[in-house]
Structures are given as structure tokens and as C-alpha cells.
């Protein structure tokens, strides 16, 4: 679920890349303060993107200060100062990870179950801190996850049904506490990113799942652990159609009319149009001998 929503940094402007990394560092620092040291292992660029989108939608005042950290003790790095958005994302990240680990403990077996159990134990203090502030959000996340795993257990759900449930979960997180237009936009963004993440995760886990006899929504009856080329083409088309829907929601955002607003827009455009697209090619490409999935030209 994590590690997919990332900017393609070579195509960011230098100042945009600095801001992007400042958000990452700011999130890490915020996690340390709000949810404790252990929660930092849930740090990801995916949650960083959540922080950026919510900052834009809530007109968060973003201040940068240079700070040292444990991993980079020698030079100070630009870091976004703690703010409401970063605090929310710190708690949200812990809730998401903790609930996911609970799922793994209930549904997995053997080594994976043991690792999940240990990780969950380590996360418990952070989880309790998050519950104090956002217990309603935790309930919504665990309900969505429960609905999703129940559907998966029936072995009968379609890919769309399952991905919609994942979308609902992310929609809750993106839109939590927002109202009116901001709520509608963030819900649409969350729904589409959630659908996109579910499908890409399924493709990424496909080989492993088939080899270990685990459930995968893309599995067909044969035991081949690689997806056929035609399926990959269809999945690429589906994933890009979902991104087109997300793009429509992003186009409705009123970016702040400032230098920071322009940089944030640059980062979002990069993630949407380059980062996520490259991720599709990267994940789907693992199944294909020549690594390139080509959509046939419909006018040909």
C-alpha cells in the first residue's frame, strides 16, 4: 500500500524538490513529537503527498526552518514547521498502519503473522496516542478494511468492488474534517487514489501471492505467477482512466496565489502526470519480458 505515490524528482524544479523533501522531513519531525519515535517507521512519501494535498485544501500556512535530525546530524535541512496538517497526517499514518497490521495478524499465518504481531506491538503506544485525537477516523478506517477483507474472503468480489472499498477508506482520510467544496474534492481524490493503489498493489503482490497460495484479486485459475501481456495492457488502461478521474478532481483545486502555491502545484502535477504514470510502468513492467506495456492505438 505504501511506496507508490511518489514524485519523479528528476523532473521537479530544484525549489520544488526542496519543498517536497521539506514536507517529508517535516512529517518525520511531526511524527516524532506527536506519535513517538517508533511511528517514524510509518514515514512514507505517500503520506507526504497526503500532507501536501491537505495543506493546499486547508490553506495551511507553510513555514520552513532549517533543522538537524538523527539521520542527518551534520547539516541542517529545510523542514516544514509543525502545523495542524502535519500533525493530522502523523496520526493518520499511524492509524492506517496499525489497522493494516491488525488485519495482517488476523488473516495471515506463519512468519508474516509473527512479524505483523511484533510490529503491531511496537506501534501500540503510537496508536493509543492517535486514538485520543482521532478515534472516529480510526473507526472509519477499520470498518473499511473489514469490509474489504470480508469481500476478499468470499473470493467472489470483482476487482472494481474491492478497489472501491479501498477508495472509500482513503476518501475518509483525505476528507477528514473538511467541508463543502474541499470535502467533495478531497473525497474524489481519495476515492480515485484508493482505487488506483488497490489495483497496483494487487499487481505488485501478484507473483508472491500466487507462489504462496494467498488471495489476489487478479488471480485466474492457472498457476502462472506472471500476468499475461494482454491483462497488463488492460490494467494499464484501467489505471490511467482512474488517474484521469483523479486529475479532474485536482483541476478543481484553487491553489494559493503565491510562490509556495505555484511550487505545490508543480509537485502535485509531477506526481499525477509523471510519478504515478512511471510507477504504473515500473510495477506492470516487472511482469513483461521487455518491460514496456504499450496501449494499442484505437485509431489504427
Amino acid at each position: 500500500m505504501f511506496g507508490y505515490v511518489k514524485a519523479y524528482e528528476p523532473d521537479l524544479k530544484v525549489k520544488e524538490q526542496a519543498l517536497y523533501r521539506a514536507f517529508y522531513c517535516g512529517l518525520c519531525r511531526s511524527m516524532g513529537k506527536c506519535t513517538g519515535i517508533c511511528s517514524r517507521c510509518t514515514l512514507s512519501y505517500d503520506i507526504t503527498f497526503l500532507a501536501i494535498v491537505r495543506s493546499i485544501l486547508t490553506n495551511e500556512v507553510i513555514e520552513i526552518k532549517k533543522a538537524r535530525c538523527f539521520i542527518h546530524p551534520f547539516t541542517k535541512r529545510p523542514t516544514v514547521k509543525p502545523c495542524h496538517t502535519l500533525k493530522f497526517c502523523s496520526y493518520a499514518s499511524v492509524l492506517l498502519t496499525y489497522n493494516k497490521l491488525c488485519d495482517d495478524v488476523n488473516d495471515e499465518s506463519g512468519r508474516k503473522k509473527l512479524i505483523a504481531s511484533l510490529a503491531r506491538g511496537a506501534m501500540r503506544p503510537a496508536y493509543k496516542r492517535s486514538l485520543k485525537h482521532y478515534s472516529a477516523l480510526s473507526d472509519e478506517i477499520s470498518q473499511s478494511l473489514f469490509a474489504l477483507t470480508s469481500l476478499e474472503k468470499t473470493n467472489n468480489g470483482s476487482l472494481d468492488e474491492a478497489s472501491v472499498l479501498s477508495g472509500n477508506m482513503l476518501a475518509c482520510i483525505f476528507s477528514y474534517g473538511l467541508e463543502g467544496t474541499q470535502k467533495h474534492i478531497s473525497e474524489a481524490i481519495g476515492k480515485n487514489l484508493g482505487k488506483w493503489l488497490y489495483i497496483i498493489d494487487a499487481v505488485d503482490d501478484y507473483s508472491d501471492d500466487i507462489q504462496r497460495g494467498r488471495y489476489n484479486p487478479l488471480a485466474v485459475d492457472d498457476a502462472n505467477d506472471k500476468l499475461p501481456y494482454e491483462t497488463l495492457v488492460n490494467l494499464k488502461i484501467i489505471l490511467l482512466n482512474i488517474l484521469a478521474d483523479a486529475e479532474a478532481a485536482f483541476d478543481l483545486i484553487d491553489y494559493p496565489d503565491s510562490e509556495t502555491g505555484r511550487m505545490l502545484r508543480g509537485i502535485v502535477d509531477n506526481v499525477l502526470h509523471i510519478g504515478l504514470v512511471k510507477k504504473i510502468d515500473e510495477v506492470l513492467g516487472k511482469h513483461s519480458a521487455d518491460n514496456a506495456i504499450r496501449i494499442p492505438d484505437p485509431d489504427a
Binding site: 476487482l159 502526470h273 506495456i293
Partner: protein, 194 residues
């Protein structure tokens, strides 16, 4: 006749939105009001005529290939029950249309059934179901252009999103040796140097 896409300065695979934007930008650029000089105004008007003609030409081409659902697309006579469902879809009443489809027993579900189910799925953002249904409809009735166009519209939308088909990661700048070494040096020693 010159290539209308070239006149507007767009790729033939550009989305409808991009075409509209390109047209608007050009219309603004060549607006006769920008040219007080009579001769330049005349040239600008000629240019506008060309741009308008190109835009209309592209509209005509795309209408012909339109993947958007047109409830009155008459390729052949249809059963009244499906005509009714098409009307429900066009009027936005997807749940009623969906229910009406489900009420048709499995034995009676032909290509048109799958096509309409696909249309409803597509409108709801259920692209996996939409794709399978369009494929099924095309399989059951290979000569039906409407079904083919619905399916190929999904390809077009996917291709339009990336700004041109098949922008794979090989076509960009893949991390060459120089960049890779510079990145590693930056990671190891960058904190000392900055």
C-alpha cells in the same frame, strides 16, 4: 486540406480538453481586435478562418469516432426494453437502468445487455467491469461499431492522459552512470559539503 491537428498545433491523440484549450489560445492570439493595422487585421482574420475550419474538422472527425454514449445511435433496430434502458442512462437515472438490466434473465442477455452494463459501469468509474463488458459485447456482435468505439474510447482516454501513447520509463532519461554516481556521492558526502 492541411492537417487540422497541425493547424491547431496539437497531437492527434490529444484529449478534447487540450484541443479546446489550444483553439481558445489561438483564437485569443489572432483576434482581429489585436491588430489596429488593416492589413495585419486582414491576415489575422484569414488565420482565424483557417483555425475555425480546423477546429470544426476535428469536431467532425471525433463525433464520427465518438466513444461517448449516444442514446440515439441508430445502427440497427433495437428491442424496446433496451431503448428504455438507454433513455434512463441518458437522463442520468443509472440505478433504474441498472435494475432494469438485472431484471432481464440471464438467458436473454446478449451483446446489447453487456454493452449497456458496461456503459453504466463506466459512468460509475468501475473500469474493470466496463472493459470486460465492452469486450464481451464486441465478441458477441463483432460488426457493431458502437460497441467497438466504447471500448476504444477507454484506450484513447488512457493514451490522452499520458500526453501521447506509451510514454514508458525507457523513453525518459533513465539513470545513467554519471547521474547514479553523483547521487551516491551526494548521499554519502553531501551533508559534509553543503
Amino acid at each position: 486540406m492541411t492537417d487540422p491537428y497541425k493547424v491547431l498545433g496539437v497531437d492527434p491523440t490529444a484529449s478534447d480538453e487540450d484541443i479546446k484549450k489550444a483553439y481558445r489560445d489561438l483564437a485569443r492570439k489572432y483576434h482581429p481586435d489585436r491588430y489596429p493595422d488593416e492589413n495585419l487585421k486582414h491576415t489575422a482574420e484569414e488565420k482565424m478562418k483557417e483555425i475555425n475550419a480546423a477546429y470544426e474538422e476535428i469536431q467532425k472527425i471525433r463525433q464520427g469516432k465518438a466513444g461517448s454514449f449516444n442514446g440515439t445511435y441508430q445502427s440497427r433496430p433495437r428491442e424496446p426494453i433496451y431503448e428504455n434502458i438507454r433513455r434512463l442512462i441518458t437522463s442520468g437515472n443509472l440505478s433504474a437502468a441498472y435494475q432494469a438490466l438485472l431484471n432481464i434473465p440471464e438467458a436473454g442477455r446478449g451483446a446489447e445487455w453487456y454493452y449497456l452494463y458496461g456503459i453504466i459501469s463506466h459512468k460509475r468509474g468501475n473500469y474493470s467491469d466496463a472493459m470486460s463488458c465492452f469486450d464481451r459485447a464486441c465478441q458477441m456482435d463483432p460488426s457493431n461499431m458502437e460497441y467497438r468505439q466504447a471500448r476504444s474510447a477507454m484506450n484513447r482516454r488512457a493514451g490522452g492522459y499520458t500526453g501521447g501513447y506509451n510514454v514508458s520509463h525507457e523513453q525518459g532519461c533513465s539513470m545513467c552512470d554519471i547521474c547514479r554516481i553523483l547521487m551516491i556521492l551526494d548521499c554519502c558526502f553531501g551533508s559534509f559539503c553543503r
